[in-house]
């Protein structure tokens, strides 16, 4: 069989499905950003007007940068908490025997619950009026620790990051576990024979060999964080409560496109989506290229 035919058999089914149902609608939606809209009716070419509005119309001009900054914090916090803890759990569980499968299942359980529900449950727990967290703190005499949590501009975003990490930690854990299992046992043997400590073995042998998995986890975390919506929406509403301290690009998009409606909603929200896409796609390509190079250095 000619080579291109073999390739076609492998590639065409996915290409067809993906192009028709994802790429075509998304490209159409991106194209919407260059038009003027009246509700769902397209009335004329608008050039870059919708983009100019995003950067020029109050309050979007301020909310755009604020949301962008919060997404950055969200990503940094998630890498630091969720992915490090995920790696730690994978390492601890690697040679764990009794109850290993139960623990893996337990750690991943929060992921099985809808983010909207997770957000809602944590709001109940952290509720300052009826919630048990503050009741508990006050009961043990830590009254000054009983903060309004999601009602305080200083604590709201960190809490969202931690709850998000709590929900997703099973994902890096599973991927790292699979990657750890793929490292030939001889490598660790060899390191031990050379007299390396556990930490040295981890730094010099395990960690470099995990590069592909770290790459996948990082890029997916980045994409997921910059598109984040459900959990934050459930915990902070569409306005990124309180006082916009948890506002992210996903919420801004939702507000412009759906909540605040307006006859120009489709044009402006599409313009915002194009900006998000260019940024996320650009960074992801660079990051993938970087990790690809690191991988090749290993071989």
């Amino acid at each position: 069989m000619p080579r291109w035919r073999v390739l076609a058999v492998f590639l065409l089914p996915a290409l067809l499905l993906y192009s028709v149902f994802i790429i075509y609608p998304l490209v159409t939606a991106l194209n919407y950003s260059f038009f003027e809209w009246r509700g769902i009716r397209q009335v004329g070419f608008a050039g870059l007007d919708n983009y100019r509005d995003l950067f020029g119309v109050y309050p979007y001009d301020q909310q755009l940068w604020r949301a962008f900054w919060h997404n950055g914090l969200f990503f940094a916090g998630t890498m630091l908490i969720q992915n490090t803890v995920g790696l730690l759990f994978a390492l601890l569980l690697f040679r764990y025997r009794r109850g290993k499968r139960f623990l893996q299942a337990a750690f991943t359980t929060p992921y099985l619950v809808d983010p909207l529900v997770v957000g809602y449950l944590w709001s109940l727990l952290l509720n300052p009026t009826f919630g048990p967290v503050n009741a508990l703190l006050e009961a043990v005499g830590l009254d000054s620790w009983a903060l309004p949590w999601l009602g305080d501009t200083r604590t709201a975003l960190p809490i969202v990051i931690v709850v998000n990490a709590w929900q997703w930690v099973g994902f890096p854990m599973l991927l790292f576990s699979a990657a750890l299992a793929g490292i030939p046992a001889e490598y660790h043997e060899a390191a031990r024979v050379d007299g390396a400590s556990a930490w040295q073995t981890f730094r010099r042998v395990t960690l470099p060999l995990l590069t592909p998995a770290i790459g996948v986890v990082s890029v997916l975390t980045f994409i997921g964080n910059f598109n984040a919506f459900g959990l934050i929406y459930a915990m902070a509403g569409s306005t990124g409560s309180p006082a916009g301290s948890t506002d992210v690009l996903g919420l801004l998009f939702y507000r412009v496109a759906f909540v605040e409606g307006g006859v120009e909603a489709i044009g402006r929200s599409s313009a915002l989506a194009v900006l998000m896409f260019v940024f996320i796609f650009g960074v992801s390509l660079l990051a993938t290229a970087y990790f690809r190079r690191r991988e090749r250095m290993l071989v």
Partner: protein
Amino acid sequence: MTRRWISGAIGVLALALAACAPGGGASGQGDDAGAGADKVTLSLWSWRVEDVKAYEKILAKFEESHPKIHVEFKPFQATEYNNILATGLSGTGGPDVAQLRAYGGLQPLVEAGQLVPLDGKVEALSGFDGKLLEGAKGYRDGKIYGVPFAYQTLQVLYNKKLFGDNGIRPPATWDEMIAAADKLKAAGITPFAVAAGPDATWTLPIVHEIFGNARYGGTAFRDAVLRGEKKFTDPDFTASIKLIEDLKPYFPKDVVAVKIPDVQALFVSGKAAMYPTGTFDLAPVLKADPSLEIGVFQVPPPPGSPVTTPVTPGWADGSFGVNAKSAHQAEALELVKWMATPEFGQLYANELKQLSAVPGVTPSDPLLAEMAGNYAANGAPYMLLVDFRYGQPNGDAVFRDELQKMLTGQAEPKAVAESVRKGVEQWFKPGN
């Protein structure tokens, strides 16, 4: 082994797809095929999932007098309704008659040409209150696109038993209200059940209307702003915002973290005495505890108010309109015509405990009757919703965010007023 796994997977998939294939394709057209040759089925879309049973009862009456029409009530989740309706109106299998948002929320549908203008087609509309009809009109063309079904009024609900226990009567002056609040607070009761949490920011402009409408000058101020004579940075408007800041000690602790279900629970369980809210909250509160004895009062004008009588702000809730693409327009018109009759209005008011927009309908519930009476005597438009939702950013949305900011201590009333002015001026041109 692997090959067997793959072929198994493909087999299951083929089966799954085949199983759902017959259901695909041509629905939407064949709905009424089985129901008798000349019977027409209308699809009625709504955002009120909690009203299914009431509407079935109401629509049964319609079907009695219109035996050739069957109406199917289809409710969708309120938060996503706008998108569902905008797409649904333009495709196959959409609604024939749809519940429509009012004022600015209606415009995307009007400007996309998705609705049938009702001028001259539904005669009864000429008898409707002009203020309420505004909510169903196109902003640019002034045509009427829907039959208004309800209006909302804003006031304070209070717990009669708590008032009695603490020797408090509905206040006649602002100072009396503050004194009552102090007394309640001293007794360990939250005076005002106000939420400013993530799900409640939209209620903050409502709370502002209830306490501050008279302070900024009510309808006269609104008209002055629309004519371009006054701005939102006006000292009276700023002073009305300051009232909310001053009332904060009487709101629940950590008000910015408090959500709507929390304040409903506080009020229903007798931990909060007064609930500044709209008519829409009466049914949920009574559903939570039907034995709760509730009274209602209008907030007395604060000191320094240009308006010296109490005000009941209000707005049109929405309307029912006809899909321009409906295959059964004649029947759909029959339905909305019926929705403009006192028969529908009365059924609506009785079944749903809401204030019907149909003229001449009196609510059977005494509390609702009191609210309707207050609105008829002292009604004023909830200005930011009624007039400032026609462009992006809508004035209501900016105000809501800024009020919450003020309650976290990050903005002064003056800065809030300035933000509203700035936001509204991005699109609003006075004098139109």
